[in-house]
């Protein structure tokens, strides 16, 4: 078995990388895949909190890197899903405690036993980002429909290309359809027009995400939630399934525009 390494990154902070990592990992595990998610945000860890596993941490990523424990010992099994594990970041160290080659080594070891290794990248374009993308087979960029987040996503897409890890895939998080219709927010089509990469998800702006994050229970595991469905759709697309965007979002005019635009982009890149 050789697992795929998926790195979730964004450039800008606070756009929802950690939430997306937790939910995509949970959705993949709920589909029956063996998944380990890894927090590469050394010094500012919070994937453990979002997954509700904070109190079970014994060893962390830096302990593995520095040889104080084996990878297995640092893995925490999720409370709800049998096949979901977390490797937490160290809170008391900084990004320089880990080097890109350490990440590659650890991921190569994990590939033997897991279908998916999902890495939560820290914000920024420095060492932590380089650590997170060094082992990646696939890079997923999270952005929000706001100009500054899109600008940073553009920069990151360029850096990912330069590291020969591209083409990156895109998730637009926190879309508020009412605001888009009123013209107060960038539409997904506007974001795609600039970034010109493959879209794998649109996640609505939903206060329930905040609640689930605080509770440490990923919203992707709530069958009735539309936002949870959006994350489940992303997970399915990442496994190679074709999932139409109308499944997670009913507005035809809006989506018609997106799919039209995606087709024209494909044509241009070909």
């Amino acid at each position: 078995m050789t697992g795929r390494v998926i790195t979730i990154t964004s450039g800008k902070g606070g756009v929802g990388k950690t939430t997306a990592t937790a939910n995509i990992s949970a959705a993949l595990a709920a589909m029956g895949h063996k998944v380990v998610c890894m927090d590469a945000d050394i010094g500012l860890r919070n994937l453990d909190v979002v997954l509700g596993l904070e109190n079970r941490i014994v060893y962390d990523l830096v302990d593995v890197v520095e040889g104080r424990c084996k990878v297995r010992q640092a893995m925490i099994r999720d409370k709800r899903l049998e096949e979901l594990y977390l490797i937490p970041a160290a809170q008391t160290r900084d990004k320089n405690a880990v080097a890109p080659k350490d990440m590659v080594r650890i991921c190569d070891e994990l590939r033997q036993d897991f279908d998916y290794i999902v890495i939560d990248s820290p914000a920024g374009i420095e060492r932590g980002f380089k650590n997170a993308i060094a082992p990646a087979d696939e890079v997923v960029i999270i952005t929000n429909p706001e100009v500054s987040a899109v600008r940073d996503a553009d920069r990151i897409i360029g850096l990912v290309e330069a590291e020969q890890k591209g083409p990156a895939k895109l998730v637009v998080n926190r879309i508020n359809t009412d605001m888009v219709e009123r013209g107060d927010m960038l539409a997904v089509a506007d974001v795609l027009e600039l970034l010109a990469v493959e879209l794998v998800g649109i996640v609505p702006d939903d206060t329930a995400v905040l609640v689930s994050t605080n509770k440490g229970a990923p919203i992707a595991l709530e069958p009735k939630s539309k936002t949870g469905q959006a994350f489940r759709d992303i997970a399915r697309r990442l496994t190679g399934e074709e999932v139409p965007f109308s499944a997670s979002n009913g507005n035809n005019g809006f989506l018609g525009r997106i799919s039209k635009l995606m087709k024209s982009k494909e044509g241009r890149n070909a």
Binding site: R155, A162, E163
Partner: protein, 234 residues
């Protein structure tokens, strides 16, 4: 290996940081010699910005990326790569590294271009230009002494600086500077001309935020002012 010891790495301080000049030689050995030299100087150089003059060495992105990681591991920052090789320069630009250093002593109008050595084997004169077939994303920077043609978009946060004209067959939304050597006759044209800022020679213009129908436009200096008009043949 006695050959490695013979490699002379020259490091000198300039305004931007440390300029490292690499001699002739085979690449892996040179890279090692550089890192050994950095290690030998130890803490003295820690945190400094490094600009490497790679001369005609051909470096691809993977090699340069590894070099950057190793420089970072030595506690320094790889900030720029100067080269007369087009391949090396392209790699550096892709990685968002500087490919040219400023000389602060000169006024901005006459600043950049003359110290640049063209990558082309023969000098094609002032009409020489380069063509780039990709989108320049935020953080990318493209500098050339002659004309620049881009087939693709120039996104916000990217910059294009040419001694001559700039033609963008796509959307131009970043910063563009034509006639950077002071040529007032330089022009900029694009299928969609909406740069963050547009400079021609010493003139700076900020295009209006709201525009109507998008059509190809050309910007040039007329009576001391930057003007944009429809780009038509003839």
């Amino acid at each position: 290996m006695s050959e490695v010891e013979a490699i002379q790495i020259d490091i000198k301080g300039i305004r931007e940081g440390l300029l490292v000049s690499l001699p002739q030689g085979e690449w892996p050995a040179l890279e090692q010699a550089l890192l050994d030299e950095l290690a030998r100087r130890g803490d003295f150089l820690k945190g400094a910005k490094l600009i490497i003059n790679a001369a005609e060495h051909e470096l691809n992105v993977a090699t340069m990326s590894r070099l950057r990681d190793r420089v970072t591991d030595s506690g320094l920052l790889l900030w720029g790569v100067l080269s007369s090789s087009a391949q090396t320069e392209r790699s550096a630009q892709l990685m968002g590294l500087a490919t040219r250093i400023h000389d602060g002593a000169r006024p901005p109008d006459t600043e950049p271009v003359e110290e640049y050595e063209p990558a082309a084997p023969q000098d094609l004169g002032p009409d020489a230009g380069i063509m780039v077939r990709r989108t320049l994303r935020s953080g990318a920077s493209l500098h050339a002494p002659g004309h620049i043609t881009i087939i693709g978009d120039v996104n916000p946060g990217a910059e294009v600086v040419a001694g001559g004209n700039v033609v963008v067959w796509g959307r131009l939304r970043g910063l563009v500077h034509a006639g950077a050597g002071g040529n007032e006759d330089a022009f900029v044209c694009a299928m969609d001309l909406s740069p963050t800022q547009l400079r021609i020679a010493g003139h700076i213009a900020i295009p209006p935020a709201e525009r109507g129908q998008v059509s190809p436009e050309i910007a040039r200096v007329q009576d001391g002012q930057v003007i944009a008009e429809n780009w038509t043949l003839g």
